[in-house]
Amino acid sequence: MLPADDLAALWLTLKLAATVTLLLLLIGTPLAWWLARSRSWWKRPAQAVVALPLILPPTVLGFYLLIAFGPQGPLGKVTEAIGIGLLPFTYEGLIVASMIYSLPFVVQPLCNAFESLGERPLEVAATLRAGPLDRFLTVVVPLARPGFLTGAVLGFAHTVGEFGVVLMIGGNIPGETRLVSMRIYDHVEAFDYAAAHGLAGVLLIFSFLVLLVLYVFNPRLRTFG
């Protein structure tokens, strides 16, 4: 069995990943809807910003977030002004950073799903007396289900696996910001390979099982490509 410290890190990681995934589905859905359907000039720059974390080294992203949310940073001043305090080295800070880091992994599959739907199913629903929200919930959501699943899995997996951003903005506070990836790093640093094996093995098996379940229930799901 894993030591209590490792279990706490594991629990914190899963809690963070679940929270981030849920929030990203809430925020990412309208964002992806807009990106998929808008003809605005702002669409292209917005797409580029959303996709940035895909190519930016996580440490770079984490560094900028640390600066921006720090006491001298513009966002740090905002969070202090509205009474939240400073976000770096807190669990809430990790949520915000992870959301930015994992945003494209949720938004892009959703965007693709919305684009491939086309206009027609919505027009059909409208001629059958369905209003805009009704159309979205009863036509778009069920038809874009594979996109939602892919987005959720990728968002979750990337949050579980993040290291660079956590290193920069999270620190290593037990129960607060000490995630599995940090813990494995600590074990390896201390030459405690046995302990590293334990945690790494758990992550490996967990990731495999999540994907396996998804593929079993969605044979046509394509997570990559």
Partner: protein, 360 residues
């Protein structure tokens, strides 16, 4: 504004296309919007439905104003009491046939005026309710789509080339349902088509559209007489319909069938038993017309009918629409015959049927 009828006034301009129409269509029966591809027919239909919004457009249906841009009035699609059948399969793939039918029926508030059973029976989809769209044939999907539209108790039915995506045999399969629908329909319908045959068989009223302009409009018959009609015809026009077996004449090896409004036909002895319904196909080239009832003829099947319309076909040939016992048949005759018989729209004629094919 007339209280009765459908009014569409609109103009649309795109880079390669401009459309300007002012239509005043009858509030009953099927009106065909007819013209070549790209003429602007579908644009008119989408404007009526509110799927496209054009500056300055005006839409009213039997006294109800759906859109009057001059007064800033625009009723969105889902607030217009219309049924729309799209060109290609438009069923929701994640819902069964029953789920598709319920979708509009529920949102329309389960209208009491709608006889659900009757609509399902009319379109012959009672046996499909539990199936999913991906397991249906193209013809079945369109029948479900039509039923789904009718279940919302629309005040106007819009059909955008509902047969265009089907092959010839599927078309032949679905046309009889549309004809039955035509006979029962109490609301106006607008049917977009570029196929002369469909128009001849279904329409009461015709609007000819070409290059974004209305070329002519009026009752079906008169417009189809025009030789300059832009249209497309199938290779072998034919009519498919159902007929009930009344009995057999064993001695002559013949069976007597009843079709439409008590019309009678003799066919080669069928293995079906009395009461069975057979599907028949009569090709346009197997009909001939005579003014007087022939005293003696080798042709067994002689039916009384009336000329409903006429359209040019191949060079020297024309296609005549005939109302026969509540059914519309097509006859392919030469232009010379049309002239020599002195045929006119509305004229009673005797129809000789040279061959009837039993399809099942």
């Amino acid at each position: 504004m007339s209280a009765d009828g459908i009014r569409l006034r609109m103009a649309a301009r795109r880079a390669d296309f401009s459309l300007e129409v002012d239509l005043d269509l009858p509030g009953r029966g099927i009106t065909a919007l007819f013209g070549p591809s790209g003429a602007g027919k579908t644009t008119c239909l989408r404007a009526l439905a509110g799927l496209e919004r054009h500056a300055g457009a005006y839409v009213a249906v039997n006294g109800e104003v759906w859109q009057d841009e001059a007064r800033g009035h625009f009723q969105p699609v889902h607030q217009r009491a219309l049924g729309y059948v799209f060109q290609e399969a438009s069923l929701f793939p994640h819902r069964s046939v029953r789920g598709n039918l319920d979708y509009g029926f529920r949102r329309a508030g389960r209208p009491a005026s709608v006889d659900r059973e009757a609509i399902v029976a009319l379109l012959g989809i009672g046996g499909l309710l539990g199936r999913y769209p991906e397991t249906l044939s193209g013809g079945e999907r369109q029948r479900v789509a039509i039923a789904r539209a009718l279940l919302t108790a629309p005040k106007l039915l819009l059909l955008d080339e509902p047969l265009a995506a089907l092959d010839a045999s599927r078309k032949a399969e679905i046309l009889p349902y549309l004809e039955r629908l035509h006979a029962r329909l109490e609301i106006p319908a607008i049917y977009v088509s570029h196929t002369t045959e469909e128009v001849l068989r279904l329409a009461d009223h015709l609007v000819l559209i070409d290059a974004g302009q209305v070329q002519a409009q009026g009752p079906l018959a008169r417009l189809l007489e025009r030789p300059d009609l832009p249209g497309q015809l199938g290779r072998d026009p034919c009519v498919v319909f159902g007929a009930q077996v009344l009995g057999h004449d064993e001695g002559d090896h013949l069976s007597e069938l009843r079709f439409g409004d008590d019309g009678r036909l003799w066919v080669t002895r069928s293995s079906a038993t009395a009461g069975d319904v057979l599907r028949l196909r009569i090709q346009a080239r197997d009909l001939s017309l005579v003014r007087q009832r022939p005293a003696q003829s080798s042709i067994l099947n002689l039916l009384q009918g009336r000329v409903a319309g006429c359209a040019p076909f191949q060079p020297g040939q024309c296609l005549v629409g005939l109302d026969v016992h509540g059914l519309r048949l097509l006859a392919q005759i030469t232009d010379r015959s049309w002239r020599q018989l002195g045929l006119e729209v509305g004229m009673p004629v005797w129809v000789q049927v040279k061959a009837v094919a039993v399809l099942d």
